[in-house]
Symmetry: C2
Subunit: 563 residues, 2 copies
C-alpha cells in the first residue's frame, strides 16, 4: 500500500482539525499543513475578549485546554504532522496533483505533491470602497495581530472609536471598547442593528441596550470616507449624515471567502461566492476537499446554498474531511445559521429563519413574540428574555427562534436548533421533557410557552396583533380601542400614554364588559400578553368578534409608550 | 347545547392548569376545582429555596409573575372558575357521575355532578415504617406548611439536621440547611447519592462536592428508628451504623401517588402504583381524566410505564387534559425522566436512561465519559463539567445523558432531551448547528465531543476502559501498564501514585515507544482523555494491540489517585 499524501492549505480551524482527524484514522498518512501566517490553530472567536482584556494574552487563544502551545513543534511531535508556516500556496496544478508554494521567509519556491488536497483557506474581512480605509488606526478583525493592534491603540490612549457595521462582531467589539472607557459610535448602513440576525422589533431592544451602555448607534447611515490627521492617522469618519471623530476605527461589515486559489485552479464556486462542495465536502475535483470559512453550506431548512462562516462549523468540516480523505464516507448535511453572542448584559441568539428570512424566501410563516423569565420568577437570579418563534403557516414546522435579554438564551436556541434539524412541528416542542428546576427554567419553559401560543394561533383560538401592526395603526390614527387589562399599580408604574386606552383590570373585565364597544376593533394588552390573551377569550365568550391581543405585551413592545 | 360540567379534584399544578385551559377553550363550561387544602396553584418545587431564604415569603410561590395572588377570588374573578377549597372529595359515583364531597370547615356534605371529571390528586411523601417518624421536628416536604415548619425550626435554633434519603429533594434541602449554618447529615439506604439519577462514577463526584460543603453523607445506611427527648421532639436518628443527633429531620425517600379515590372508584391503576391513563390522559372510565403526580407515564425510550412526578409534566398534563375535556383530541406521548437540580455550586442533570437503567431493562449500551469546559477554556467564566453519554450498542440511538459540575449542565440535558425524543442516532448530535460563542460553549460543544467519542467507539477506532474497570484491575493487582501522557508540570501537580505508572508526555511518545511492553495491556490516561486517545492511536499505528485509554481521564476519575 502506498502512503496517502495529504496536503492541507490553511492552519487555523478546519485545516488542523482535518489533519488531526486524518492522523488518528490513518497513522501512516503523510500529512502537511501549509499556512501563510505564523500562527496556528488560534481561537479567532476569542479576539473580542482579548481586546476587552478578559483574555490576558494572545497565547491563551493558541493553547490547548491542557496548556500546550499549538506550534509547529507541537504538530510535529504530538501529531506527526508537518507544518509549513509563513508559506504561501500560489497555485494548484490539478493535472500533476501538486501545490506550488513559496516561502515568505526565504522566497524559495517548490512543489508539494498530494493525493488528497484540502482547502481551508478561510475568509478575509470585507473592506468598504471608501477613500482612507487604509489609514493608521483603521482595523479589521481578521487575525490575532489585528486584535493586538487594537489593544495597543487603546493603551496608546485612543478615546473615541467608530465601528463600521453593526453585525455581531461589531457589537462584541463595541462592548470590548466601551467597557474600557472609550466613546463608541456604531455606524450601520441598514435600518437596524444585527439585521442578519434579528427581526426589527427585536433589534430595537438590542439597540436600546447598547445605547443604555453609552454606545451611540447610527442606523441608516453610510460611510463615505475616512479623513486623516497630519500624521496619516484616522481623525474622522465621514458619513452621509455627518462626521464622527475617531482615533480608532474597526471595519466589520462582514467577511469574504478566500477562493482565489480554488478559482484559479478552475474549481467550481457557488452562487454565494464560497467554494461549492458536495455533502462529503468534496469540490468539483474529487481529489480536492474544502471546508471552513472558504466554502458555502446548505441551509437545512431552505435547502439552498448559504455563506455563513462560523468557527463551530469549521471544526465540524475538519472532522468530516479528515474522515473522507482517509477512506471514510462521512456526510455533512448543512447548517441552520445558528448564532449567539453577548452584548454587554444581553444574551442574543438566533437559529433558523427569521420572519425577514421567510419573506426573502417566500415561505409563509406565522410568528409569536413572548417575553418571560428565564427561570422561576421567584428565584433570585431570574432574568427576562424575549423570544420570537417563526413557524411555517401551512404545516406548522418550526422554522426559527430568535431570543434576547438579560436572561439565558443559548439553551433555548440549542433546543430549537436540535428540533429544527429534525424537521419538527413547533407544537411538538410543547411536550418535550425539558429539564425543570426553579434555578434553570420555569415549569413551562419559555420555548414551550412560545410553542403553546403557536398552537393557539394555528388552531384559531388566539388572535394577535404584532407590535409593528399596532404601531402603524397608531401612527395612522385609526379608530380602535386599546384595552389595558393590567392591575392599577402596574399602569401607574408604566403607563401607556395614548388616548385610545381603556383600562379594565382583567379581574373586573367580566363585570365591566359593557364599557367596551362591540363594533370596533379592540387590541388588548398587558405586561406579557398572557392576561391579554385571556381577555381576548373572555370577550369572545361574550360575543365580541373584533378582539386581538398585542403580541408580546408591553415587555416586548419596542416603540416607547408615549404617543 | 347543554353546558359542559367540568369537575377537577386537586388545586395545585395539573388541576388549575386543566381548568384554565378548559376555560380558554370553552367560555361557557361550568368549571369547579375541589381542593382539600387552603392553598392553590403554589410552586411546590420552590420550597427548598423558601427554606434557604432565597425566596422570602411563601406568597411569592403563590403569585403569578405579574404579582396576582392565585386565590379563590382570583380564579372566580379572572377565570370564572369555582374553587371549593378546604373540601375533601370522598367518593366518586361513576354511575351517577357525581363526586361526594365534605367541607373540612363545616363538615357539610354534598354532591357535585360532572360531565367530565379530572383527577389531579397529586402525591404524598413516602414515610419509612420506623417508630418515632411522627415526632416533633420530623418533616416531610409535601406542602408549603411543611416548608414553613422547617423554616421555623431553623429560626428556633435547630443546629443539627438529618436528611433521610439522598434523592434530589434531599440534596436541595441539604444545601438550604447547610448554607444557613446547620450541621447536615444525609442518610441513604443505597450505596450512592441520587441513585435514580446518576450512575455511581458520577454520583461519587456529587458526594465529594456535598462533603466539601460540610455535609456528612452516610450511604449504605438504613434508618431504624427516631428517638425523642422528654418533650416529644426528635433527638436522635438511629441507623444500622450508629446514631446521629438531630433536632430537625427531613424524610425525603420519595413520594407515592394519591390514588385512593381512583382505586375506590374502580379505576385501573398501573403497575407502578399510579393511575393508569391512555395517551389522551383518560383513565379506564372515559369520562374521567387524570394527570400530574397521581398518574404513571410512558417512558419514551422503553415504552414502559414509569412513575416520575414532576411539576413540568403536571403542567403539560393540565394543558392536554384541558383540551380533551373540551372536545379536543390532544395526545401526551410520554416522558424521559429528565431532571436537573442545583447542589451548592454543582449543577446536576440527567435525561433518558443511565447505564444502570439500561442494565435493568436489558438494553445493550455503550457509554462515554467526557470532562470538559462549559465554554471556551480561555473565557473567564469557564467552568468544568463531566458528561456521561449512553448509547444503544447495536443501533447507535442516543439513550441518555448525565452531566454534573460547576459548569452549565441544563442546556446539554435539554439538547439531549430533544434529540432523544425524536429517536436520534447519537452520531447525528455531532453535526447539530448549536449556538457557538466563547461565553456560551466551545467550538465543539461537550455534548458533540461526547457524540464524537461515541462515533469513534462504535467504529472501533477508540478503545477505552471505564474508571470502574480500571479500579477493579488495580484492586485485583493485575499486571498491566498505566501510561501517563501528561506534561511533567501536570504530573507534579496531580500525581497518580501507583507503581504501574509509566510517564511519557504525549510529545515524546513517538520517540520513546520502545520503553513500553507490547505483550501487556496498556491503559493510557491524561487529564481529560483527549491526549490518551491520541496516544492509543499512535501506539496502534506502531503495532501495539493492547492499548486502551481511561474514559474521562483524571478529571472524571472518582476514586482518588493514591493506591
Amino acid at each position: 500500500m502506498t502512503t496517502n499524501r495529504i496536503v492541507i492549505i490553511g492552519g487555523v480551524a478546519c485545516g488542523p482539525k482535518a489533519a488531526a482527524r486524518a492522523r488518528r484514522r490513518d497513522p501512516s498518512a503523510d500529512i502537511t499543513i501549509i499556512e501563510r501566517g505564523d500562527l496556528l490553530s488560534y481561537a479567532g472567536c476569542g479576539m473580542p475578549y482579548y481586546i476587552q482584556g478578559q483574555v490576558e494574552t494572545m497565547d491563551e487563544l493558541m493553547m490547548t485546554p491542557a496548556g500546550a502551545l499549538r506550534d509547529e513543534a507541537f504538530f510535529k511531535g504530538v501529531k506527526a504532522i508537518n507544518v509549513m508556516s509563513r508559506t504561501l500556496a500560489e497555485r494548484i496544478d490539478r493535472e500533476r496533483k501538486v501545490v506550488e508554494v513559496v516561502s515568505l521567509e526565504t522566497a524559495v519556491r517548490h512543489e508539494v505533491p498530494y493525493d488528497k488536497l484540502v482547502l481551508a483557506t478561510g475568509a478575509d474581512a470585507a473592506v468598504p470602497p471608501c477613500s482612507g480605509v487604509d489609514l493608521k488606526g483603521i482595523f479589521r478583525l481578521n487575525h490575532p495581530y489585528d486584535a493586538e493592534g487594537i489593544r495597543k491603540a487603546i493603551s496608546d490612549g485612543c478615546k473615541e472609536a467608530v465601528i463600521v457595521g453593526a453585525g455581531l462582531i461589531g457589537v462584541e467589539v463595541a462592548e470590548a471598547l466601551a467597557s474600557q472607557g472609550l466613546r463608541v459610535t456604531m455606524i450601520e448602513m441598514l435600518s437596524t442593528v444585527v439585521p442578519a440576525v434579528l427581526d426589527p422589533e427585536l433589534a430595537v431592544h438590542l439597540q436600546r441596550h447598547l445605547e443604555s451602555k453609552g454606545v451611540t448607534v447610527l442606523t441608516d447611515t453610510q460611510v463615505i470616507c475616512f479623513e486623516s490627521d497630519d500624521r496619516g492617522a484616522v481623525r474622522e469618519v465621514v458619513t452621509d449624515k455627518g462626521k464622527v471623530t475617531a482615533q480608532l476605527v474597526l471595519v466589520s461589515i462582514g467577511v469574504k471567502p478566500n477562493v482565489k486559489l480554488a478559482k484559479d485552479a478552475g474549481l467550481e464556486l457557488g452562487e454565494t461566492g464560497g467554494i461549492k462542495v458536495n455533502e462529503y465536502l468534496q469540490t468539483s475535483d474529487p481529489s480536492i476537499y474544502a471546508g471552513g470559512d472558504c466554502v458555502e453550506n446548505v441551509h437545512l431548512i431552505t435547502g439552498k446554498p448559504v455563506y455563513a462562516p462560523m468557527g463551530s462549523t469549521a471544526n465540524k468540516h475538519g472532522r468530516v474531511i479528515g474522515d473522507n480523505i482517509t477512506g471514510g464516507n462521512t456526510r455533512f448535511e448543512g447548517i441552520l445559521g445558528t448564532v449567539v453572542f453577548k452584548a454587554f448584559e444581553f444574551n442574543v441568539g438566533k437559529v433558523g429563519l427569521s420572519e425577514n428570512d421567510c419573506k426573502k424566501h417566500g415561505i409563509p410563516c406565522i410568528t409569536v413574540l413572548v417575553p418571560g423569565p428565564d427561570c422561576a420568577h421567584y428565584y433570585p437570579t431570574s432574568k427576562p428574555v424575549i423570544m420570537k418563534m417563526v413557524v411555517h403557516a401551512e404545516n406548522g414546522r418550526l422554522l426559527g427562534v430568535q431570543a434576547l435579554g438579560r436572561g439565558e438564551v443559548a439553551k433555548r436556541i440549542d433546543v430549537a436548533a436540535t428540533a429544527i434539524t429534525f424537521g419538527i412541528d413547533a407544537r411538538d416542542v410543547s411536550d418535550l421533557d425539558l429539564a425543570y428546576a426553579p434555578p434553570y427554567s420555569t415549569a413551562v419553559d419559555i420555548i414551550q410557552h412560545a410553542a403553546n401560543v403557536i398552537d393557539n394561533k394555528l388552531s384559531g383560538l388566539a388572535k394577535s396583533c404584532t407590535p409593528q401592526e399596532l404601531k402603524s395603526r397608531l401612527d395612522a390614527g385609526d379608530d380602535f380601542v386599546l384595552l389595558d387589562v393590567r392591575m392599577p399599580g402596574e399602569v401607574e408604574e408604566q403607563p401607556f400614554r395614548e388616548n385610545r386606552v381603556v383600562h379594565i383590570p382583567l379581574g373586573k373585565l367580566r363585570e365591566r364588559m359593557d364599557d367596551l364597544p362591540r363594533d370596533k376593533d379592540i387590541v388588548v394588552f398587558c405586561k406579557t400578553s398572557m392576561r391579554a390573551w385571556e381577555a381576548q377569550r373572555i370577550l369572545e365568550g361574550e360575543g365580541f368578534t373584533r378582539v386581538r391581543f398585542l403580541d408580546g405585551g408591553l415587555a416586548a413592545w419596542p416603540y416607547g409608550t408615549s404617543w
